[in-house]
Amino acid sequence: MYGVGVGGGGGGNYDGGGGNASSLFGGGGFMPSQATNAAEGTSGGGGGFPKSRNAQALLPLTVKQIMDASQTNDDKSNFAVNGMEVSTVRLVGRMLNKLDRVTDVSFTLDDGTGRVPVNRWENDSTDTKEMADIQNGDYVIVNGGLKGFQGKRQVVAYSVRRITNFNDVTHHFLHCVHVHLELTRPKSQVNANTATGTPNQTMPRDSMAYNQSPLTNQASTFSAPQNTGTGTNMIDLVLNVFHDPAVMNDDHGVGVDYVSRRLNLPEETVGKIIIDQVDLGHLYATIDDHHYKSTMNG
């Protein structure tokens, strides 16, 4: 069974999803995460929803899985995949036949396994901008609700994001395979020697690391320059002072005494590091030979 964790919360029965959900997949921010000890009720704290809400789990699916999904008996608009009730899905594919209207945008999503109509309601200007940036032929990640209307299946999207890193496509399909296997794998029964004798139903812990680093690989704007040699930590500390926006915006730069005070390091040590960094071209003297700035200012 899958619980939902919101951005890294979670505990008890429902593990929180990855804290980096939004940076890894963009939009949504809900990451499916496998529940452990699923038979033990719903007392877990943190990011998990109660068992009755498990249809809210965001499932990565292919279009074929959606088309093959069976409708649940109690409600014609609800669907089940691999025996699990599902309403919120993540799809990845190419946008086709985009049609802009006043209040919404409709398009067809083709992921190679089939095609499904998608509708995105534009409630405010951010929604409009999000959709304006995406054109026919672009690969997109769609998070949305699965709906059935007059026998046809469609997705009402609440997030549509253009893919810039195509690892996301591969990742999505691997994720679909992984989730499908987890949901169809027979649950191993382990008899726990507890007083009640109730068997604990266990599932292997989700092996996928959701807390991956963001895919853009961008270093922080104020990262220290590379190859700064031995005593790197101290050099980085000194350079980070010069990369402080307040210092970078000061035309005159700062002196050894300022850096020394701020880092609580001896002036002699700081002075030597600064001279070395001037020789390497990471820093330069400004109004005199005692005030310095970083070359990262441009």
């Binding site: 195509f166 690892n167 853009t216 690989n217 961008q218 270093a219 922080s220 704007t221 990262s223 320059p225 590379q226 190859n227 040699g229 001037v278 020789d279 390497l280 071209g281 990471h282 330069y284 003297a285 400004t286 109004i287 005199d288 030979d289 970083s294 070359t295 990262m296 200012n297 441009g298």
Partner: protein, 400 residues
Amino acid sequence: YLEDRIRRSGSLFSASGLCGEPADATLASEESMFSVGMVICDGEGHLNEKSILLQGSVEHSRGQHVRLDLKDVDRFSLFPGQVVGIQGHNPSGHCFVVSKLNDSIPNFVDAQLPRAKKQAVDSEGNQSSDVVSRVLSSVIAAGPYTTSDNLLFEPLQELISYASRKQPQLLILMGPFIDSDHPEIKKGAVDKSFQDIFLFEILRKLQDFTQYLGHNVRVILIPSVRDAHHDFVFPQPAFDLNLPEDITHQITCLANPSLFSCNEIHFGCCTMDILKHLSGEEISRKPPGEKHGDRIGRICTHILKQQSYYPLYPPPAGVPLDFSLANGALEIASAPDVLLLPSDLAPFVKVLSLDESSEEPKRFICMNPGRLAKGIGGGTFVELNYNEDTDKTSASLIRI
């Protein structure tokens, strides 16, 4: 301009015979291939090892870019805008695994001329250099020429006094002359036009100097984008001075950047602070355990390896780079003997070589004379006595 650079570099690489015809690096292939493109960053921050993309030419890669994986390269020095040749393969189509990286664009003469013709050109050059002895005494300085507390141009007067004593054949003065960053210029607290300040405070002093030394001295003036009385654009035209006829042959105004020669010694000069800009953007890797190389020297050689006075792209905010003017102006057609790169970085004079691996690497002198005035105090300039080649040449960095 950028597309031209990539395409021209690609043809120079293939014409050099060192590597094959450039292929499309964005296409998936298990086979090793050679490609040429421009290093770009995948976002708006500074370049780092994980954010390096290669932008191909429209001709070979439809202008598309591909991520570079440099895990197999033990030594590199990269910056955005750098044109490189890469050998490697792209198994997935999304990431090019580099096995060999060449950041030095082959020389035009080396690449385009047959060997016999090249030797003829070389020997022609040698013959002509016998006629004029390659000996030159020079004094080289870069602005500002006045301290930040006044507009009296005392450091310039000091420099001229020194030059009058030493009597060099060449005095090279690089901008800014009327520094737009000077507090009084910034405030507009002057009662003369910027052009008048230039004419009366600077040009008049130089005219007196040339009259004092007679016809033995030449003065070269090169503007800077920090010059308040001149066009704020880069590349930048020369000053337009209406000088008296008797000294027009002694005071010469050149564009920024420019390549000029004196006594068969070729000088390249760019007053845009490319060293500082490159220093802020360059990233490098060296084999573990190896000592620090000369980082500033490495940055200087990039300029000649890239055959461009301003190979960085995109330029930092505030650099008025105009690509419509760049095509011929930024190109370094042949490697100069002396490369003048005035910068806010620490002043230096270095003898550098372009290709360490070759038997006779082309050696050149690269210098940053520093600023003649720094804040409320004096700064530095360089005295260079060039003698035939770099081995017999002497240079001193002088503080005023």
